[in-house]
């Protein structure tokens, strides 16, 4: 889709700049005239929403870093007393940053779900998808470091559990795992050294993410956008310029998204939080219930579903890395699940599975559902759900892709759009 540029500098100064550093041409070609499929729906607006949310996190984060103190003794107070109560508008900036992280993950999950449903990972967009998975993994690391910095009880014990994951490697090479986890912490336990380095990394990673986002958009603009029909653009009749059509569409849904975000910031700033994190970190007392932030719960449930530590850790990492392989696991010739009746059902089961895992991750380890006389231990539900998570990608995706009878795919985007219009004028929804 990287067609030739149709930018014409209008002034002498613009022409002078264009011959030396064509930044205006670059912006024009990629964010103004960029040919974009006509049929992108609501679900495609989350890319722009994510870009804005990343900027929100970086800007609020830089200001917070000016007031935050990364030591075990002072971290909690520098957030709860200094930033929340003393710094001008500190309460606002902190709430934007804390709730903003959750909203960013909400948008990420929708964006990834959209990519999955419309087959956006399939050739020629494999690299685009893989870069997206890298961004997701980096976001999780960044969010985890940031959550630790608040230095409440949940922060402290989340950091302890996550850094202890490395010690599971003791089961492969004795003492190596423990040495690795001590190295990560800079101490035998999570402490001063840990919070200080997590702060450094928390400040660094967003810029790494911004770099990978740049590559992600570059890859997107080489292949061009996918679209809900999952068919390639065949010519100019299938596209419209990015501006004003999609700038306006993105801006509209961004506004709706921001209304929800700001409603949470102003009226329910603790909506995503955990009350135990208002207790300062105490290395000698583990809270009776520890749980990560909501966006990590499904993986936490998988970790707990496995009785062996090392296997649990391996399951966790496999679950995180599995999306990298999707472009080659899906064997179907049709991209969009809209035309794949079986895959579509399996996709929604997958979504339900992730929500179920998230639910189980938030419950106690010995929790059970009581159905009359029968008790269903939630850990068994988590095991079944974990099984489905892996089966969906590693078994069903390759197998269904070959067996499934797909519905007819439209000839072109333009034809489909026009036909839909015709049906609508007759007064019927397709």
């Amino acid at each position: 889709m990287a067609g030739h540029s149709n930018y014409v500098p209008k002034t002498g100064l613009a022409r002078w700049l264009d011959q030396r550093l064509p930044v205006i041409r670059l912006m024009n070609d990629h964010f103004v005239t960029f040919p974009t499929p006509k049929n992108l729906n609501f679900w495609y607006t989350f890319g722009a929403i994510l870009a804005v949310m990343l900027v929100v996190q970086v800007v609020t984060g830089i200001v917070l870093a000016m007031h935050y103190v990364p030591t075990a003794d002072l971290a909690f107070g520098s957030v709860e007393q200094h930033i929340m109560r003393e710094v001008n508008y500190g309460w606002l900036i902190r709430s934007l940053h804390a709730s903003g992280a959750s909203m960013l993950f909400l948008a990420v999950y929708i964006h990834m779900g959209r990519g999955l449903y419309y087959g956006s990972y399939k050739a020629p967009r494999e690299i685009l998808w893989i870069l997206g998975v890298f961004i997701y993994l980096l976001l999780m690391a960044t969010a985890f470091f940031g959550y630790t910095l608040q230095w409440g009880q949940m922060s402290y014990w989340a950091a302890t559990v996550i850094t202890s994951l490395f010690s599971a490697f003791d089961q492969i090479i004795p003492h190596f795992g423990t040495a690795l986890s001590t190295w990560v912490r800079g101490d035998y336990a999570v402490g001063d050294a840990t919070v200080n380095r997590f702060f450094a990394l928390h400040y660094l990673l967003p810029f790494v993410i911004a770099g990978v986002v740049g590559l992600h958009i570059w890859a997107l603009h080489v292949t061009g956008n996918g679209n809900p029909l999952g068919i390639e653009v065949k010519g100019p009749q299938d596209t419209i310029p990015f501006h004003p059509w999609y700038t306006v569409k993105d801006a509209f849904y961004l506004t709706l998204f921001l209304i929800v975000f700001l409603a949470i910031v102003f009226y329910a700033p603790n909506f995503f939080g955990n009350p135990d994190n208002y207790i300062p970190a105490n290395p000698l007392v583990t809270p009776s219930e520890i749980r990560p932030e909501w966006y990590l719960l499904p993986f936490y449930a998988m970790l707990r579903a496995v009785p062996n530590t090392l296997l649990g850790v391996l399951v966790l990492f496999s679950a995180l890395l599995t999306p990298l392989f999707i472009p080659w696991l899906d064997t179907s010739k049709v991209r969009s699940y809209r035309f794949r009746p079986v895959m579509k059902q399996l996709f929604w089961v997958f979504v339900a599975t992730c929500i179920l895992l998230g639910y189980v991750g938030a419950q106690t380890t010995d929790a059970a559902w009581h159905l009359g006389e029968v008790d269903i231990p939630l850990v068994w539900l988590a095991r079944l759900a974990t099984l489905y998570y892996f089966a969906f990608f590693w078994a069903l995706m390759p197998w269904i892709g070959k067996k499934e009878v797909t519905r007819p795919v439209p000839e072109s985007i333009a034809q489909s759009v026009l036909k839909k219009g015709a049906v609508l004028t007759k007064g019927g929804e397709q």
Partner: protein, 189 residues
Amino acid sequence: MANPPTPEPTRRDFLYIATGAAATLGVGFAAWPFIDSMNPSSAVLAMASIEVDLSAIQPGQQVIFKWRGHPLFVRRRTPKEIAAARAVSPSDLPDGLARNANLTESAPATDANRTIKPEWLVVVGVCTHLGCTPAVSTRESPQGAYGGWLCHCHGSDFDASGRIRKGPAPQNLAVPPYAFIGPTKIKIG
């Protein structure tokens, strides 16, 4: 263009390989200070050993000290608890090794191997699963089914010898290196 026949290695090939190897080695050496700087500093290591007075601890009571940033459980066990712990054979345990830093690594997990004096159990209060602090079981508030500790994070259940009996923890609670330096005084680390 067809591939020319593989030429004899020249002086230049040797120089390429030698330069590459030297550069790799150099990068490795240069990286080490940065990697090692993330290990515990001398300030942390200076706090690595502590002395503890046990005289105030009552039978059946556990006191938690802080050692290397971790909780350290010192439990004065009752004769009943000792007897119960001794009644178990190491071969019936999920982890059959003593995990006692004062003994060899292959020492079996008998109760005798878990202590220096049977009355005093000294273990690191870090669940070997994922590092939470297990809750102690007392007469007033029993925890778990084995009368030792229960880890609330993921449900690991330990007996009064600090040995894993049920749940995801792979190992018994670690016995740190320690020695009695008086009748009721120990040095840990």
